[in-house]
Amino acid sequence: MHPRLWRFAYGLVRNRAAADDLAQATCLRALEKAGQFQKGTHADRWIFTICRNIWLNDLRAGKLRLGMGVVPADESDLQAKNCDPVENIFASEVLTKVMALPDAQRETVLLTYVEGFSYKDTAAMLDIPIGTVMSRLSAARKALAPLNKEVE
């Protein structure tokens, strides 16, 4: 679970050091709130929700505004090892495009397309209607579509 959490955190904050901090803060909060976790429910959704709430609070508090620029495709860190270089370039471009999405679209894309949650689960985690998930994903698809054409 932790690698997925860290990846989600990285997708939100777009900065490796900040992702480390966010993932750690999330784990601490989850431990503190362990008594509130309902057995039989999905721990990953619960933890992703905690992570996203901390991120939102940090954004509101202005903690993430400075020095947290987009560093979306650090090639030494993020590329698959032993992969076709062309594939790596493509992956890097995809990452760059996703990371450049507005926050609301990006968090929705991360949960739905990267983590594979359903619209319903994503809506619940983000506390928004399913229609909003659809409109965010629609907008994100339009933003990402040019990438397909460039590569093709």
Binding site: M1, H2, P3, R4, L5, W6, R7, Y10, G11, D20, A23, Q24, C27, L28, A30, L31, A34, G35, F37, K39, A43, D44, I47, D77, L78, Q79, A80, K81, E87, F90, A91, S92, V94, L95, V98, V109, T112, Y113, V114, G116, S118, Y119, G131, M134, S135, L137, S138, A140, R141, K142, L144, A145, N148
Partner: protein, 235 residues
Amino acid sequence: MYSDEDITAYLDGELPVAEMAAMKTAIENGKIPQARLDALHMDKAALSTAFAPLLATAPELALPVAKPRWVLPALAASVALVIGIGLGTRLQAPQSGWEMEVAHYQALYVLETLSVIEPDLDRLTQEVAKTNALLGLDMSIETLNGFEGLTLRRAQVLGFEGQVLIQIAYTMADGTPVAFCILKRQNSVEQPVSTTELLGLATATWQNSGYSFLTIGGDDPKLMADFARHLAAAI
């Protein structure tokens, strides 16, 4: 007329079955212009592939030591397992397996766990005799029950990786559970008493040839160290 949101949901397979079929028919019949579909086309597999390497670059967590609490560790352990941080290996200083196994077990004890067990001398004598036989030691009831402030409650036989693990359980005056544990171990080397904290529990460990020892419970490391020295001097 279909909206972009409808088409997106169709592409993601998120529409109800009947609407999926209707949309498919509409596309096949050319009722939705190809340009609209192209504008929403996205290679989901490529996206998934692009993000996959991030999983391998996630750092290990280094969380601070948990504060001593009796109930929290048991609850937190399940969450920690899900997160994958493993309270035993990440939250604390690294420890070899058995100490942390003991700590997890001990963390489940609450004030009421041992206080209901009457310290019956005959029963305790039998339990200690059995313990001595299994371990090849000669611990006396007087030694085991001779540390001020702790009441001997029970000695039980457990196991760890095929080796005998004995847990001798005590309570403090307020019911706080404490344990003295012994693991029979070949090749263990002499090590003096040292203290640490496992899952928020004060812990002291030491070894001699053939055995590893541990005292654990409460939040006072000095108490656990003193208890450990009392035992180490007599065993």
